[in-house]
Amino acid sequence: MVIALLVIVCVVAGLLFFAGGTLGLLRFPDFYSRLHPAGKLDTMGALMVLLGLGLHQLFPLTLDSVLTGLKLMLILVFIFLASPTATHAIMDAGFRAGLEPWKKGDPRR
Amino acid sequence: MEPLPSLKPLLAVLVSLGVVPILMSSRSANVREAWTFGAAGLKFLLVLAMLPTVLEGRELVCTLAEVLPGVAFRLRVDALGMLFALVASSLWIITSAYSIGYMRGLQEHGQTRYFCFFALALSATIGAAFSANLFTLYLFYEMLSFATYPLVTHHQDAEARRSGRKYLLYIVGSSIGLVLPAMIFSYHLSGTLEFTSQGFLPRAGSPVLLGVLLFMFLFGFAKAAVMPLHAWLPAAMVAPTPVSALLHAVAVVKVGVFCILRVLTGVFGLDLLASFHLGAAVACVAAFTIIVASLIALTQNELKRLLAFSTIGQLSYIVLGAALLSPKALVGGMVHIAMHAFGKITLFFCAGAIYVATRKKYLSDLVGIGKRMPVTMAAFFVGALSVIGLPPTGGFLSKWYLVLGTLQAHQWPMLLVILSSSLLNAAYFFPIVYRAFFFQGDQSLSDNTTQEAPLWCLVPLIITAVCTILFFFYPFPFLRLAELAGL
Amino acid sequence: MEEILGLVIARYNYWIYITLMMVGLYGMIAKNNLVKKIVGMNIFQTAIILFYVSIGVKKGATIPIIEHSHDVAHQAVRAADYINPLPHVLMLTAIVVSVATLGVALAVAVTVYQRHQTLEEDEILKQIREP
């Protein structure tokens, strides 16, 4: 029961992060600033949700379930490696393409 | 009587086809012509070898392959085919000789091609003569159409191109557009295409259908130049004269009428035609053609065109002979194939000889030419006699039978047609001869020296002229064959 | 009315596949740009895959991988418990085919661009007509 609660908390938190990321994606004024929520919050959301789900499926505790849990963690590792890299790549691309960053006071783009 | 299986018909067909590769590969003109002669002679001998058997009333058969159910690729030598083959193969020898003279005399180009297609055309002609069924006949008919195209357009100039187009349009158009469906329809009706003496079409067909079929055949074999599908024939006169001679007096047009004869006798059968009065309809068309063609011939100035229209008229005699549905007329029509062939080829040879010797082809230029080319013009006279139908030439004989036939069939109007047409023939031939011998022409012809065409040209036309006369006295093989066929 | 509604609801996957297919087909026919057409082609192909996979679906069944294979090797397997695997197999093939087609189509599109310097069909046709 405790575990279920923990799972729910984790997952809900993760979803919240996801929601924030998506909202940020929609709300922020320009491409560069949109990358901030998209990059960070989605990673964080994935972390929380996967943690929660991993915890959930760990029971009943067997070799298979542990391995599956570890696989989930592996996914997490990869997300943590890939997500900032992708964010960086996109931002780099933007700079190379010559996109001007939004300055305070500019209209939304 | 039981037909006799034999390979001879096939050999007779293939012999000229077989020399084509040799002709194509030989570099020397002499070798090529020697081969041509060899093939022609061989072919004639092969045909002659079959003659006794046919005269006995037996038939030779050679089946190659059953291509469609009930339809075989089959050759059969019967009397009618024999008659035609005899004429065609004997004339090939003569025409070959004449061609050599003509082509060399005019230094024509593409002689190898010329001889090749000539051989091909002869193959097709003999094949058509020996066809045992409508399919085989059609095969050789089409083969002939395409083989003669390069001959007709031999000059490869704009006029030849035009005429070639016209030729193909009429011949191929009618054969594909009319004969092919008619043939398939006949097959549909009866399940076979094999010629029989009483025709293979079912007796119980509807008269309208049969009539339509008959006219599809009649006009479809446009080589017979039944009006209104005759226009290709004058146009095709652009060909070198030996071509016109052999093909347009013998092979092509005769194949056309031969096909019509075959269709009338072998597909429909005279009884069927009689029972639906279809013969009379055909006869009317033929009669119309005879009269109109003769009238047009009267107005022509170019010798070959005149001959062409004369041919159109004469061909319809043959059709008429069959359409009268009486035995005598049928014999007359069949014999006319041979007689007209010899007579008309003489005329064409003469026209060619005149052209080789003087480069003249218009009637108005030929005034007084008899002095310069007496032998040629004498032969011309003989030919003209034969075509008009006067003794002592073979033409008389066939016309005589035709007249008898009309009497036998009680077709008085047709008698009238034949007679009046003979008059018209005379009206356009005699002036030529008359003016050639008894008038003074322009300067080039008036220096009384005799200057004939080369010997290669001259000898053949003498032979044919002699033959024409000979057949009056000795028509036995042709007459016998025609009677056999008419039975 | 309710019948129709039931009919519609009971087959909603099929309606979507038809929609997708129409989208793809429209893209292939009406779009002017060659790469767009290729996109349309792929959508079209996936629509058919969707159709096939929809055939295989069974309510209340699980994925077609037999459970507990090691423990009870010869326990009777009930076919109704597992989703029909055959459409999946077919669609694996179809996906492969669509990737292959995509590769070839893109290669050809690149070749077209190399020759005509544009991907717009009308411009290419104009170039061809007026060289």
């Binding site: - | 291509v67 075989a72 | 082609m41 093939t93």
Partner: protein, 498 residues
């Protein structure tokens, strides 16, 4: 005979294609011999199958040993054995003829070219012999993808045409696949005969109707049936000549075969002719196809393009012939698959030779060709006569059956269209012959022109020999029509067609 023949038929070229591809990297010289070996192998196997069928031995093969409907099986019967032989033979002969062009135009890509070539033939063979509806799709795609690539290899507009072909081909293949799916959803089977058995009680279902329609449309797209033919002329025209002489004769014919196979084996004739009653409509479509193909061909100034429109018209022949729904029409359609493959093959080979020598095939560049390329033009004449339908070339006999079928079913529109298109064929080809025969004005007469004037500049012998083999086979097949119909096609005619 060997029970593994049906499998070997496709496995030999398939295996060979991998080796060819590898040889392209390791020993390029081996590519061509390997390809020849592959084609010869499948030709021999197909002949073996033909003999088997003639002897009455059923050619059934269960792949993986699984019985149908669970496994895939191949089936050789009277209907497809001839098509198999034709495909293998055309593939083999064309390969011989392709070599000079390949070595001259893209020598460094010979390896992949032969690989795709062999795979294309493999795909077609498989399509013809398979008894599984989905397997047919996969093989169809093999043939299609190789075809796209080979066509795009041509110059100029080829790439765009190939891309159009890709789009149309994909739509066609997908429609076919969709049809298979529709059948699957109501029957649950993919095996053709099994489907047919299960379809019997379902003839009234909308699904089956739509499956039929969609499948037909897909197949028609692939074969270039008239309103759906738009991709065909460009694709075949701009392809390199060894490719067009392979694809043009085979692809459309095989699709016609697939149509016949689908209707006969899967939907049954009862369904197609009695339940749906589409036959009149389809025959009229075929009439339109024939007329339109012929007329469009008339408008063309390029021989190869003209031939492609003739292909369009010929497709109309076959479809119409089949949909006439009687024995003669069926025989004609099946016979025409064989004959037309040979005919178009001959013509495309001849045009390929002309292109090899002249660089293009526009009408004006043909002038004087009878003199400079007599052998090529001679074969062209034979092919043309066959298309026109002159006996004893094979084109006549299939046309004969088609016409007979039209008469028997009283479909005079089809009759007229056939005859008309033959006449148009005369006009088309004699236009070519005139140009080739009548040289440009001014140079035509005179003694200087005597014997053998202009130098003969023929295609290489390696291209002429295959061409003449094909040309002679046209006549040979024509003469053996009776045998072919009597011993093979007659047994393929379903009982219902009487």
């Amino acid at each position: 005979m060997n029970v593994h023949y049906p499998a070997l038929l496709v496995i030999i070229p398939l295996l060979a294609s991998f080796f060819i591809s590898a040889a392209g990297w390791l020993r390029p010289v081996w590519c061509f011999p390997l390809a020849v070996a592959a084609m010869a192998g499948s030709l021999l196997v197909s002949l073996g199958l033909l003999v088997d069928v003639l002897l009455g031995i059923p050619g059934l093969y269960w792949f993986g040993g699984w019985p149908p409907p669970w496994g895939i099986y191949y089936r050789v019967d009277h209907l497809n054995t001839l098509v198999l032989v034709i495909i293998a033979a055309v593939g083999f002969v064309n390969l011989m003829a392709a070599r000079p062009t390949v070595e001259r135009d893209f020598p460094e890509k010979a390896g992949p070219f032969y690989t795709l070539y062999v795979l294309f033939v493999t795909g077609l063979l498989g399509m013809v012999v398979t008894g599984d509806a989905f397997n047919l799709y996969v093989l169809l795609e093999i043939a299609a993808i190789t075809g796209y690539a080979l066509i795009a290899l041509g110059k100029g507009r080829a790439a765009l045409s190939s891309l159009h072909y890709i789009f149309m081909g994909t739509i066609g293949a997908c429609f076919y696949l969709l049809g298979v799916g529709y059948l699957y959803i109501v029957t649950g089977s993919l095996n053709m005969e099994d489907i047919s058995r299960l379809l019997q009680p379902l003839h009234g279902s909308n699904v089956v109707i739509v499956a039929f329609v969609i499948m037909m449309v897909g197949i028609w797209l692939k074969m270039g049936f008239f309103p759906l033919h738009a991709w065909l002329p460009n694709a075949y025209t701009y392809a390199p000549s060894p490719v067009s002489s392979l694809v043009a004769p085979l692809m459309t014919k095989v699709m016609v075969y697939v149509m016949i196979r689908m209707i006969l084996t899967v939907f049954t004739l009862d369904y197609a002719f009695l339940v749906l009653k589409l036959n009149d409509a389809v025959v009229w479509l075929a009439v339109i196809a024939i007329v339109a193909g012929s007329l469009l061909a008339l408008a063309e100034k390029d021989v190869k393009r003209m031939l492609t429109y003739i292909v369009v018209a010929e497709v109309g022949y076959m479809v119409g012939g089949f949909w006439l729904g009687n024995r003669a029409g069926f025989t004609g359609a099946v016979l025409h698959i064989v004959n037309d493959a040979l005919m178009t093959f001959c013509l495309f080979l001849a045009v390929g030779n002309i292109i090899h020598v002249k660089g293009n095939s526009r009408l004006e560049s043909l002038s004087g060709l009878f003199r400079t390329m007599p052998w090529t033009m001679g074969a062209l004449v034979v092919g043309a006569l066959s298309i026109i339908g002159v006996p004893p070339t094979c084109g006549f006999f299939s046309k004969w059956y088609l016409l007979l079928g039209a008469i028997q079913s009283g479909h005079y529109g089809f009759l007229a269209a056939l005859l008309g298109s033959s006449l148009v064929g005369v006009v088309l080809f004699f236009r070519i012959f005139e140009i080739g025969y009548f040289e440009p004005l001014g140079a035509s007469h005179g003694p200087a022109h005597g014997e053998g004037g202009a130098a003969v500049r023929e295609a290489p012998l390696g291209m002429l020999v295959p061409l003449w083999i094909t040309a002679l086979s046209l006549i040979l097949v024509g003469l053996y029509t009776g045998e072919i119909v009597g011993r093979v096609i007659r047994h393929a005619i379903p009982e219902m067609m009487l």
